[in-house]
C-alpha cells in the first residue's frame, strides 16, 4: 500500500500539530512541508522540532519561492541554490527524505510569446547540471535527496518530461538527485504516464499527486489505477504527496484524497 501525504497549506489548523490531527483522521500518513525563501524554512526550526517531538511525520519539503536554480539571473540562481541547500539541511535534521524543486516556474514558456528564451540550450544545460551537482552533493552530505520536478511546458521551458530529468540526473551521476514526479504535469507531457514511470523507475524518488485539472485527486479525469499501478510495479516506497488546489468544501476535499487513492489502487 502506498503512503499518502498532504501539503501543510491544505490542512486546516493553526499549528502543525493541529494539522497532523486532521491529516491522520483523514487517513494521511504524513505532511509535506512547504519552504519559502529568505531562509524562512530554517527560521521555522523551533516550530518544526517541536512538531517532530510531538510525533508529526514530515518526510519531505517542497520549495515555495518565485525563483529557482535555473533562473536567467545569476544572483537569483545563487540565492535559489543556497535556499535549497538550507532546506535540505533542515529536512535532514528532521529525519526526512528530501526536498523538491523544479528547474524554474513561471519564468518562460516556449509555447508563449516570445517563444525563444534569451539563452541557448547549451548554456541552460550547463546551468542545470552545475546547480544539480552542487545541491546534490550537499544532499549527499546531509543524507537526503534532492527531487527534480519536471513541470508542464507552460510553467517551465527546460525540464518537462521524465526523460529530460533522467538524462540530467544520469549526467550528474549522484544517487542523491532523483526525479520528483507529479501526476498533473505528467498528464500534460508524457505520451503514456504509466509507461514513463516504468521506463524511468530507477530515477524516481518522490511523487506528488493532483488530478488533470490541478484539483485534488478524484476531481478530474486522470487514469489513477494505471498511474498508481505503475508505481506499485516499480516497487515505489515513497509517499504520494497531495499538491493541489481544492474544489468543493476544502476540508471535505482534502479528506477525500486518501480514500480516493486507496480505491484507485494506491
Amino acid at each position: 500500500m502506498l503512503k499518502t501525504a498532504a501539503q501543510e497549506q491544505l490542512l486546516p489548523g493553526n499549528s502543525l500539530q493541529e494539522k497532523w490531527e486532521f491529516a491522520q483522521s483523514a487517513g494521511y500518513d504524513a505532511i509535506e512541508l512547504r519552504a519559502k525563501g529568505d531562509f524562512h524554512f530554517r527560521d521555522r526550526l523551533p516550530e518544526l522540532r517541536q512538531a517532530l517531538a510531538d510525533g508529526v511525520v514530515m518526510p519531505t519539503v517542497c520549495v515555495e519561492m518565485l525563483h529557482f536554480f535555473g533562473a536567467f539571473d545569476a544572483e537569483l540562481r545563487r540565492d535559489a541554490i543556497e535556499q535549497l541547500k538550507s532546506q535540505l539541511s533542515v529536512i535532514a535534521e528532521l529525519g526526512g527524505r528530501g526536498a523538491q524543486t523544479p528547474a524554474s516556474y513561471g519564468m518562460f514558456s516556449r509555447r508563449l510569446p516570445p517563444f525563444e528564451p534569451p539563452r541557448g540550450e547549451a548554456e541552460e544545460r550547463e546551468i542545470l547540471l552545475s546547480g544539480l551537482a552542487e545541491m546534490g552533493e550537499h544532499a549527499l552530505r546531509e543524507g537526503v535527496t534532492l527531487y527534480l520536478e519536471p513541470l508542464n511546458r507552460y510553467e517551465d521551458h527546460m525540464v518537462n518530461r521524465l526523460a529530460q530529468a533522467a538524462e540530467l540526473i544520469k549526467e550528474v551521476g549522484l544517487d542523491s538527485v532523483r526525479i520528483g514526479i507529479d501526476s498533473y504535469h505528467m498528464n500534460i507531457e508524457e505520451a503514456d504516464p504509466a509507461a514513463a514511470i516504468i521506463e524511468y523507475a530507477p530515477y524516481i524518488g518522490h511523487a506528488q499527486v493532483s488530478d488533470s485539472n490541478r484539483f485534488q485527486p478524484g476531481a478530474g479525469h486522470l487514469d489513477w489505477p494505471a498511474w498508481l499501478g505503475a508505481l506499485h510495479t516499480i516497487g515505489y516506497d515513497g509517499y504520494l504527496a497531495a499538491e493541489c488546489r481544492l474544489t468543493g468544501d476544502p476540508a471535505t476535499a482534502v479528506r477525500s484524497v486518501p480514500g480516493f487513492l486507496r480505491r484507485s489502487g494506491a
Binding site: 505520451a191 504509466a194 516504468i198 487514469d223 489505477p225 499501478g229 505503475a230 506499485h232 510495479t233 516499480i234
Partner: protein
C-alpha cells in the same frame, strides 16, 4: 526493466509486478499488443483476455481495449481477428493488410473504410470479458456508458456467428480457417487441411520466423494452406454465403466460449435495460447443439466436427479444445465427470505428469511438446479450465491449477506457451495474455466468472423446472440456486446418442455441395 522480471517472481508481489510491467509495456495507447516482437497489432481474442487482466490494473484501459477492438467491427457484425496498426511496417507481420485488403475486398460485408483488418474471426470471448471488466468497477463503467455502447456491437457479433456461420445447420458456429478457432496448427486441422492445395511457397513471405524459432512455429506447408484458404475467402469478398469454405469445422472451444459469452450477454442486456431472454434461449440452444453434435461419450471429450467429411464428421483427435466446455454452465453430470476423468487421465495427465493442461493429447500421434498448438500448454486455455473447474464444483483441482499457472507464468518470463512436461518456455516472452491472466488469478481467488450466482439470478426468474443431476455442477456451489435449463438437457443422462433434430437436413449441406446460408 529486466530487473523487474528477474525480481522474485515466485512471490505474489513479484508475480504481480512482473505481469503488470508486461501489460504496461505492451500498451499502445488504445490497445495492447500480444507481443512487442512477434505480434505488433491488435488480436481479437487476445484483446478479450488482455482486458480481463487490465481490469485489475486500470478498468479504463480494460474498457478501451474492448472498445478499440469493437470499433473495427464490420457492418455484418463480424469482429476481425486482427486490427492492424497503421504505423507498423507492412513487413512486420504476415499476412499483412495488403494481403487481406479488408477495406476493399470486405466493402460488401461492411468492412471499415479507414481501418485495415483481417477478414476472419477468433473465438467470441468478448462479451464475457466485457462483463468481467464492468464488474471490476461498475461505477466508472456506467459513467462512461461502457456497456451501453458495447452491448449492441456484442449482440451483432453474436448474431453474425449464429446467422452467418451455422454452416452445418446444426445450431453451432463453424470456423472457416484454422486461425479462427485460435489454435492455429492443432492436429485437429491436419485432416481437413490435407484437402487444401497449398499456395506456392514463392507467393508469400512469412514474418513470424524473423522473431520465433522455426521448431516452435507452424511448418511452411501448413502456412501455404493457411494462405490459400484466406485468399479464397478474400476473393469471395468475405461473403460467407459465396465463399467456397474449403475448410469448415465446428470447434468445441469456439462454441463453448460462444455459450459463456452468450450468458454474459444476457447479464449485460439486463444491466443496460435490454431483454436477456433471447440471449439465454440462444445459450441453451447452443449448449444442446454442442452436446448433440460434438460430444464423444466413448472418449469422454468433445471433438471437432469436419463439415466436409463423411459419417458423423467427428475428427478423431483429442485436443484441449474438447475440455474447454467445462466453462459451460449446466452440463449433464456424466459429461462433467467424463471431462474431469479425461483431464486427469493419461491423455492430459493434469496434476500428474503435467501442471498445466497440454494443448493436445500426450499420447497422440502428433504430440510435439514445443510446437505451438500441437502439445505446449497455453495460459489462456488453462485459465479457462481453472474457471471451469470452479464452475463445476471442483475447487481443489482449480486451486492446484491456479498455483501451477502462477508458478509457470512468472517463472517462464510470461511466455506465450510452455512445454507441458518440462515447463520450458516456448514462443514469445513477455506475452500479453499470459501476464493479463496472471493478474486475474492473483486478483480474484474467488470466482467472479459469469458463473452460477449471477447467471442463476436470471435463470431463477424463469419458470421453475425440477432440478436433476444435469445441474450437479452448479448445485455444488451451495450458495447459489441451481440454474434451470430446459429440456432435453435437463432430462440428464449422457446425450451420446444423437437425437433427431427437425432443423437438420439429412444430407449435409456442405458435403452435398449446397451453398451455406
Amino acid at each position: 526493466m529486466t530487473e523487474l522480471l528477474q525480481a522474485p517472481a515466485t512471490t505474489r508481489d513479484g508475480a504481480w509486478r512482473g505481469a503488470a510491467e508486461v501489460l504496461i509495456g505492451n500498451w499502445t495507447g488504445t490497445s495492447t499488443v500480444p507481443s512487442r516482437s512477434l505480434y505488433p497489432h491488435q488480436w481479437s481474442w487476445d484483446s478479450a483476455f488482455l482486458a480481463i487482466g487490465w481490469r485489475h490494473l486500470s478498468p479504463r484501459r480494460a474498457q478501451r481495449e474492448l472498445e478499440s477492438l469493437l470499433g473495427a467491427q464490420w457492418g455484418d457484425g463480424r469482429v476481425p481477428h486482427i486490427v492492424f496498426n497503421p504505423s507498423v511496417p507492412l513487413g512486420a507481420y504476415f499476412p499483412s493488410p495488403d494481403f487481406w485488403r479488408s477495406s476493399a475486398a470486405g466493402a460488401g460485408r461492411g468492412a471499415p473504410a479507414t481501418v485495415e483488418t483481417s477478414g476472419i474471426v477468433q473465438p467470441p470471448v468478448h462479451a464475457l470479458a466485457a462483463l468481467l471488466v464492468h464488474e471490476a468497477d461498475p461505477e466508472i463503467s456506467r459513467r462512461r456508458g461502457f456497456l451501453t455502447r458495447l452491448y449492441p456491437r456484442l449482440a451483432r457479433w453474436h448474431d453474425y456467428l449464429a446467422r452467418r456461420r451455422d454452416l452445418g445447420r446444426g445450431g453451432l458456429a463453424a470456423v472457416v480457417h484454422p486461425w479462427e478457432p485460435g489454435m492455429d496448427n492443432s492436429p485437429c486441422w491436419d485432416g481437413p487441411l490435407a484437402r487444401i492445395e497449398p499456395a506456392e511457397p514463392g507467393t508469400f513471405r512469412r514474418a513470424d520466423l524473423d522473431h520465433g524459432a522455426a521448431t516452435d512455429r507452424p511448418t511452411d506447408l501448413d502456412y501455404g494452406r493457411y494462405v490459400r484458404l484466406a485468399a479464397e475467402y478474400r476473393d469471395a469478398g468475405y461473403d460467407d454465403a459465396a465463399a467456397p469454405h474449403g475448410f469448415a469445422v465446428e470447434d468445441p472451444n469456439f462454441n463453448a466460449l460462444f455459450i459463456a459469452s452468450e450468458y454474459a450477454l444476457a447479464e449485460i442486456a439486463a444491466e443496460v435495460g435490454a431483454a436477456p431472454a433471447g440471449h439465454l434461449a440462444r445459450a441453451e440452444r447452443l449448449t444442446r447443439a454442442l452436446l448433440d453434435r460434438l460430444w464423444d461419450a466413448e472418449a469422454g471429450v468433445f471433438r471437432c466436427r469436419d463439415l466436409h467429411a463423411g459419417g458423423d464428421g467427428l475428427i478423431p483427435e483429442t485436443s484441449v479444445a474438447g475440455l474447454v466446455p467445462l466453462i459451460v454452465p449446466g452440463l449433464p453430470g456424466p459429461v462433467v465427470d467424463a471431462l474431469l476423468r479425461t483431464l486427469t487421465g493419461p491423455h492430459f495427465a493434469l496434476g500428474d505428469r503435467t501442471g498445466l493442461a497440454p494443448s493436445y493429447d500426450l499420447r497422440g500421434h502428433a504430440f510435439d511438446p514445443s510446437r505451438y498448438w500441437r502439445g505446449p500448454a497455453w495460459f489462456n486455455i488453462n485459465w479457462l479450465i481453472e474457471r471451469g473447474l470452479r464452475l463445476q464444483g471442483v475447487p481443489e483441482r482449480a486451486d492446484a491449477l491456479r498455483s501451477a499457472f502462477l508458478r509457470s507464468a512468472a517463472g517462464s518470463g510470461y511466455a506465450e506457451y510452455v512445454d507441458p512436461l518440462t515447463g520450458e518456455p516456448r514462443g514469445a516472452r513477455r506475452f500479453g495474455w499470459t501476464a493479463a491472466l496472471t493478474l486475474d488469478l492473483l486478483g480474484s481467488v474467488s470466482p467472479t466468472f459469469a458463473g452460477p450466482r449471477r447467471l442463476a439470478r436470471h435463470l431463477a426468474a424463469r419458470p421453475h423446472r425440477p432440478s436433476t443431476s444435469s445441474t450437479r455442477a452448479i448445485r455444488a456451489h451451495a450458495d447459489a440456486p441451481s440454474p434451470k435449463l430446459s429440456a432435453p438437457l435437463e432430462q440428464g443422462g449422457t446425450p451420446s446418442t444423437p437425437r433427431p433434430d427437425p432443423q437438420r437436413s439429412e444430407r449435409h449441406p456442405l458435403a452435398a455441395g449446397e451453398e451455406p446460408r
